[in-house]
């Protein structure tokens, strides 16, 4: 029973003897194939750690276990939330939107506005036109957006709803209410690609639809677009803007969702920050565009390069070399020298890397996540002398990514010890960790169970992270971002060293106060 002077929640309550008894008693009713047999569980658990199991596991063709990716509309919503006063609108069931909103909210610890038009059986039979007619009007009346950004779900895609026709139909029926409201749209079927594909589709469509092609090209001298890609680190957006500002005030981030997921206490308003609509509408006039995530913007790149005939660059400003390339690209495009402040930051970063390298040098890492995230992170690990033993990318694009990753790994003195795993999930990673162990894992919250199973410490960098607070507020881009990565990783190595040396009079030599 609870002690009123020391009330405990479930964490400690269920450890009390009376509850342990309850849990023990319950066991007699469990286990459909006879009583639960601890020896059998142990035997199978051990088998799952073997090379034999690994081979069966890697041979899987049909079932995916613990994926490291999400579906298209999630990325599409991020694009919408990066534009000022924009309401993301999902054409489909509200169940999907409840999931998208919860997912983002759990990561950012912030509200996530997004509506749906609540399609159900009748829409499955007759199509979702009626839902869209009511939905756009209701959304406009209640949330007063300046722009609506429409994406689809797998349901709408399977029944073949045509967004262009539907939106036109909805406008015609709306008694003028929607006449002046820009409504952009993209088809984002959940059974194609992943959340980064959705980001790409929505970004491309938004840019195309808000920037109609003109007969004559208008170019604003010195104007540069920066597209961040599917970026879960708000600090990275801030850092990239900060660096850009050092070069020119004509550099605009297109799809800037930093403020939307970083509002202060005191009051709540639905929309916060974002790229001004006028900037998005004139993005075509820029001299060039820099994408910070090559594989989140494959289709977008085609529009900008081929239709807009704009200069198009990809830079991945994660780690030292990535940031160097980004900074030099800005210097080249703006015709300016690298500012003293950035030079100082670079010096400080390299100094810090030289201070900390012994703790990362030769350490083995398993890293998983989105394609562009991995290109940046692995590059940094290699710069520090770490070994990216397993690089796992569930949503690796079919073209290009593996070669890009190989080129980065080739720079490592341990290149032969590194393996790239495109299209594999986290249950595959479990086998890899048991058979070819590493010192540390780097990835999102779902590595937590792998940590429990394999004992490999997890350094939480990636998306989503639900169980640790406020990491998304930091940057992993730019020199300052690289310093954050260095700090997180080095100190995780030191935490582990303390953990292994903390036993008094047993292992506590090397339990040092100075490092």
């Amino acid at each position: 029973m609870q002690d009123v002077e020391n009330i405990v929640n479930g964490q400690k309550l269920f450890l009390k003897p009376e509850y342990q008894e309850v849990l023990k008693n319950k066991k007699q009713f469990e286990g459909a194939m006879g009583a639960v047999n601890p020896a059998k569980v142990e035997e199978v658990a051990e088998w799952t750690k073997t090379w034999e199991y690994r081979e069966k596991n890697l041979a899987r063709e049909a079932i995916t276990v613990n994926p490291a990716k999400a579906c298209q509309p999630l990325g599409a919503i991020m694009v919408g939330l990066g534009i000022e006063n924009t309401m993301p609108y999902v054409h489909g069931s509200h169940g999907c939107v409840a999931y998208f909103r919860s997912y983002f909210t759990r990561h950012f610890k912030e509200p996530t506005p997004c509506v749906s038009d609540s399609m159900s059986e009748s829409a499955a039979v007759f199509g979702g036109l009626a839902n869209m007619k009511d939905g756009l009007r209701n959304c406009n009346a209640m949330y007063k957006p300046e722009h609506i950004s429409v994406s689809t779900t797998c349901m709408a895609e399977v029944i073949g709803d045509d967004l262009n026709a539907f939106i036109t139909g909805a406008r015609e029926d709306a008694e003028g209410e929607l006449d002046d409201l820009p409504i952009t749209y993209a088809h984002t079927p959940s059974f194609v690609g992943s959340h980064i594909t959705g980001y790409d589709n929505m970004m491309k469509s938004t840019l195309e639809q808000l920037n109609p092609e003109r007969s004559e090209k208008v170019v604003e001298e010195g104007r540069i677009n920066i597209i961040p890609g599917f970026e879960p680190y708000l600090g990275s957006l801030a850092e990239v803007k900060e660096i850009s500002k050092m070069f020119s005030d004509k550099i605009h981030m297109i799809g800037d969702h930093e403020a939307q997921w970083n509002t202060g206490a005191g009051s709540y308003s639905l929309y916060a920050g974002g790229t001004p609509l006028d900037i998005v509408k004139t993005a075509i006039n820029a001299e060039s565009t820099i994408s910070l995530q090559k594989y989140s913007t494959v289709q977008t790149a085609k529009t900008i390069k081929n239709k807009w005939k704009q200069g198009y660059e990809t830079c991945n400003p994660i780690g030292l070399a990535g940031t160097d390339a980004f900074v030099m690209k800005l210097a080249e495009l703006t015709g300016k020298e690298v500012p003293e402040e950035l030079k100082a930051q670079r010096g400080q970063l390299v100094d810090a890397m030289q201070d900390s390298y012994p703790y990362m040098h030769g350490k083995k890492f398993a890293i998983y996540g989105d394609p562009d995230f991995l290109l940046g992170l692995v590059s940094f690990i290699v710069e520090m002398g770490g070994i990216p033993t397993h690089v796992l990318c569930h949503n690796a694009p079919r073209k290009g990514w593996e070669d890009d990753m190989k080129a980065i790994i080739a720079k490592s003195q341990w290149a032969e010890d590194c393996q790239i795993w495109p299209g594999k999930d986290l249950w595959h990673l479990r086998s890899l960790l048991f058979t070819e162990p590493v010192d540390f894992m780097i990835g999102n919250v779902y590595g937590k169970e792998l940590y429990r199973d394999t004992g490999t410490p997890l350094i939480r960098i990636g998306f989503p992270i639900f169980d640790r607070h406020h990491l998304h507020r930091y940057s992993m881009s730019g020199y300052k971002g690289a310093l954050n990565l260095l700090t997180w990783i080095t100190n995780a190595v030191l935490d582990q060293l303390d953990e292994e040396t903390k036993d008094i009079a047993k292992t506590d030599y090397f339990f040092d106060c100075v490092r």
């Binding site: 799952t48 049909a62 999630l74 059986e121 829409a123 209701n138 209640m142 797998c154």
Partner: protein, 488 residues
């Protein structure tokens, strides 16, 4: 605030939110909103329209049928593997989000927090996914030999492309000799997660209940009961179980938090079904009553008043020995809960609360707040039916704003108008209200605390509400240089 002022405010709040809608939507929403009072003759609880299509284009907090079946009913069954059949998203977004606690070796004999999906690609949509599903089932049995069955939870495209998942399941069941259940809980079915509960219950009825072999060696006692509709959020069902066992009953099955297939299969041997979440599990309780003659009883284990009332009601079903033990147990815990109330009530008395949750909580938790002297002035359900609102009427203690399928816009307006001291709702709402400087508790997951069911759990509840209401952080919302009111 007097009852008349409160009711006037509540009526005004409804009028104000309806103003912004286009005519058609306003007409629809008006039927879902109202005010009721305990003495109300025909109040909102009797009239509120519910279980209807959500108005398109708003931020509803509702989920879908898949969420109801996979997320609520089937997903927590720990020794079975539940496949999210279709594209990758649904399984990923619902992975490990609900705190259905269990004891087991995850990945070996227990699978609740994992995500198994057939991860549909365009090819599967075009050519159908049945072959892939069949292969997936075989791979699962090879890699997870200690699974005690598989359920196939359909996502939207499955029904739309016309896959015959029941046929695939039937073949696999025969070949593997393990339960294999195809659940057609596509997200577009129905208007909320509620239909998913019903569909899930129907499949338990059709695929689990007939499995007499699984209960053949079961030895009955006169005191066998099942806990139905407890998802063991934060360990709720364990905190419930201990009380039932202390009064002399034997809990033979726990549905479906920390449940195993066998517990579902032996449930027809119970002498009484104890139903906590009426909305999600009334269907199977009715079925067991008809098919096996097992009576069922609703109970409420939130707060000492309701827990005591419920324990007496449960004991009254059995003989005097149970009734005697129940009184002893009640007396034993009452001393503790009285002390909890004495400790926290002075800090919470008179504070007003607005609720918005699903299942049973919009009514069941009212008593627990009342025990602490707090007043619930607004409540509503994400996915209730008319009978839920009728049951709510019995629990309200004062003029109460009733809102069915309230959307983000309406809830924000209602809260600004009624200015409660605490909002208790879900994660999507949490940060909206916290930003306004309002204490908030996430009442789907107990905000990562709990349990909240039973006497011991009431102490946790009281402590958590005190933590929410009396944290110094709320005093920092307004900067020292600000004069105007914050949160408007």
């Amino acid at each position: 605030m007097g009852p008349e002022t409160l009711e006037a405010l509540q009526q005004e709040a409804i009028a104000e939110v309806l103003e912004v809608y286009p005519a058609k939507a306003a007409k629809n929403r008006a039927k879902h909103l109202g005010v009721d009072a305990p003495e109300g003759v025909k109040g909102a609880c009797d009239k509120t329209r519910s279980n209807k299509q959500t108005v398109p284009g708003v931020m509803s907090q509702r989920g879908c049928a898949y969420a109801g079946s996979k997320g609520v009913v089937w997903g927590p069954i720990k020794d079975m593997i539940h496949i999210s059949h279709g594209p990758v998203g649904c399984g990923q977004y619902s992975r490990a989000g609900r705190r259905n606690y269990y004891i087991g070796t995850t990945g070996v004999d227990t699978f609740v927090t994992m995500n198994f999906t057939t991860d549909f690609t365009e090819k599967d949509i075009v050519f159908g996914g049945d072959k892939k599903l069949k292969k997936a089932l075989e791979e699962i049995d090879e890699l997870f030999p200690l699974n005690n069955g598989i359920s196939i939870q359909s996502e939207c495209p499955i029904g739309l492309i016309g896959d015959d998942i029941s046929a695939v399941a039937k073949v696999h069941k025969k070949e593997s000799s393990k339960p294999t259940v195809a659940v057609s809980c596509e997200g577009f079915r129905g208007v909320s997660q509620s239909l998913g509960h019903h569909i899930a219950n129907d499949m338990i009825r059709d695929e689990v209940m007939p499995d007499a072999a699984a209960r053949a060696d079961f030895e009955s006692t006169d005191y066998d009961v099942s806990i139905i509709g407890d998802y063991n959020i934060g360990g709720d069902a364990w905190a419930t179980r201990i009380l039932l066992e202390e009064i002399g009953l034997r809990v033979i099955a726990q549905w479906s938090g920390d449940a195993s297939y066998k517990e579902l299969a032996v449930a027809p041997k119970a002498k009484l079904n104890l139903l906590h979440c009426y909305r999600s599990m009334n269907y199977i309780s009715r079925h067991m009553e008809q098919e096996f003659g097992i009576p069922w009883m609703e109970y409420n284990f939130f707060g000492p008043t309701k827990t005591t009332e419920s324990l007496r009601k449960i004991a009254a079903f059995f003989d005097e020995s149970i009734q005697k033990k129940a009184e002893e147990v009640i007396a034993k815990y009452t001393a503790m809960t009285d002390a909890v109330i004495a400790k926290f009530k002075p800090k919470l008395e008179g504070k007003q609360v607005m609720l918005y949750v699903g299942g049973l909580r919009p009514r069941h938790v009212i008593g627990a707040y009342e025990d602490l002297g707090m007043e619930v002035i607004g409540t509503g359900y994400e996915f209730a039916h008319g009978d839920d609102y009728k049951r709510t009427k019995e629990d309200i203690a004062r003029s109460t704003l009733i809102y069915d399928d309230v959307n983000e816009y309406e809830l924000e307006k209602f809260v600004k108008k009624l200015k409660p001291d605490l909002v208790a709702a879900g994660v999507k709402e949490k940060y909206v209200f916290q930003k306004m400087g309002l204490p908030f508790r996430q009442m789907h997951s107990w905000d990562y605390s709990g349990p909240y069911h039973g006497y011991d759990a009431f102490a946790v509840f009281a402590k958590d509400m005190d933590l929410a209401m009396n944290s110094p952080v709320w005093n920092h919302t307004k900067a020292p240089w600000e004069k105007e009111e914050v949160g408007a």
